[in-house]
Symmetry: C2
Subunit: 308 residues, 2 copies
């Protein structure tokens, strides 16, 4: 699966992923009005708004970005009806040929991780019937509980050609509180990085990168550079560009000399571009999808300028 | 909420919680047959089986145990239809007066944590309407990303009288891989324990325990003892008893001198008791609820013997 992702990145000359993290205040009023009229001011109306919004964004970006990353929290917040919208979003994006990175950040003991893995990247077996439930290509997971909490996902990656991005160094302001602590001269995130690198050794594809990747935040440039050296065969999912403050310059050392090795996420900077001063003079609320497309093109250009 | 939980523990003389972690092989054949007949061998049939199973267990234990802990992974595995069974299970258990510990182990950046928190322990606001979605009393969360990833939950704990159990030392075999690393003579789990203790300082209730609790596995007795001393005002959720190998003797130092300070989880040891050699001679498949009740009574006795 990492080879498929990298193939698409090369083909589209675009190492970026659109974060499908809808929020009610990102949704244009005309969509909300339609859904509130139909379903009232209910979780169902919000879930249907998110789905309609996502589909319009996907329609506008699927030919210029290799992947989308729905953040399950925004859907889970709405209850089961939101999880249905998460699943429908994934199905729609897959039909359009996009690679799906499910940002679920699960982490639990072996037997529980098996359930998460079955549902998200493996198979649910019911007697003699097998079901694919969420159908993400990659998911994000927590490493804090150690190898046995990660093992079921690794097994399914092998069996069903899926991939992982394991949290190594996150993009949030307090990420250093635990991740930067020093153990015999090494930071925790470096130790976790080495573990993730080891877990991925047997899954290295044709570009020299493993199916077992790492989350490395764009907001910590020195640490990204450090991790790129420590983990030469680990592909990075890089959050924190744009709204969280990370610039293309900040994250360029997450890439290798061939401008590969990482994929950069932007969520609200793309999907809510129509609300941004930079785009709103050119795009109306009804053209939110077109604004997202332009923002995705601008992001690609911004990344290309530092990488090539 | 921690006071309500401790009130119930004292009243029932029972510091234990029943883990509602159904799996298809725990469900008696007569329930599966009924649901497969009705819905085919589908995720819907499994979700309905879990709900029927859970309700029967709840009916048999609500007067002798203070709390239940549904593990969301087993429901999430089934897709949105499973999440509906998770929500219905919580609603049913609440009607019976049980305290709900949602074992969700979420952990993400601030803005994403807000969504999880709104859905699970806070409120979902849709324009001028407020919704309670999952309605757990407590949830479990990951601390690896630092304070800002925890802050939204703490805010909702204050606003809606809810509680947290933050992962400090987990019960799984490889938990030491990261959690036991030494930083200036202190283990990571001790450092995390101190952080959790600090985060909970302003939420200490009438029994001297905070609404912000910790997950401390029963499978590491020395570490439980250590953490009990480091975190005198932090209430512990203790997994790992029974099926994972932890004994009452192993976990007794997680309690204080008044036999308070912790609640011990058992999942398959209770809910699948009817399949256990110890109980199956006395209980048929149809009496799985009665077997669970007896197992819960036996667990209470086992804990009381070491605590009093």
């Amino acid at each position: 699966m990492i080879d498929i992702l990298i193939d698409k990145i090369i083909q589209m000359e675009n190492p970026s992923v659109v974060g499908l993290d809808p929020r009610l205040n990102f949704i244009p009023q005309f969509i909300k009005d339609e859904m509130f009229d139909r379903y009232g001011r209910t979780p169902k109306a919000v879930a249907e708004s998110y789905l309609m919004f996502n589909k319009a964004i996907i329609d506008e970006v699927y030919d210029i970005v290799p992947a989308v990353k729905p953040q399950i929290a925004m859907y889970e917040e709405l209850g089961y009806i939101g999880i249905k919208a998460y699943m429908d979003t994934i199905n729609y994006a897959k039909e359009k040929g996009l690679v799906i990175i499910g940002d679920i950040k699960r982490g639990d003991i072996f037997s529980t991780a098996e359930s998460y893995s079955n549902g998200h990247i493996g198979r649910l077996s019911i007697e003699d019937e097998d079901y694919t439930i969420y159908n993400e290509d990659f998911i994000t997971i927590h490493p804090y509980m150690g190898y046995d909490s990660v093992e079921p996902y690794i097994k399914d990656c092998k069996e069903y050609n899926r991939g992982l991005f394991v949290l190594v160094k996150t993009s949030n302001p307090n990420s250093g509180e635990i991740q930067d602590l020093l153990v015999n001269g090494q930071k925790i995130y470096e130790i976790v990085g080495k573990l993730v690198s080891k877990w991925g050794e047997e899954f290295i594809g044709k570009y020299g990168y493993s199916q077992i990747g790492a989350v490395v935040g764009a907001t910590h440039p020195e640490q990204g550079k450090d991790l790129r050296q420590i983990m030469p065969h680990t592909f990075f999912l890089v959050p924190g560009y744009g709204a969280q403050g990370g610039t293309a310059e900040d994250l360029k050392d997450c890439f290798d000399k061939k401008a590969l090795g990482a994929i950069v996420n932007s969520s609200r900077g793309i999907i809510a571009a129509y609300k941004d001063d930079k785009y709103k003079k050119d795009y109306s609320d009804k053209e939110f999808g077109k604004a997202a497309r332009q923002a995705a093109i601008d992001m690609r250009k911004d990344l290309q300028e530092v990488l090539i």
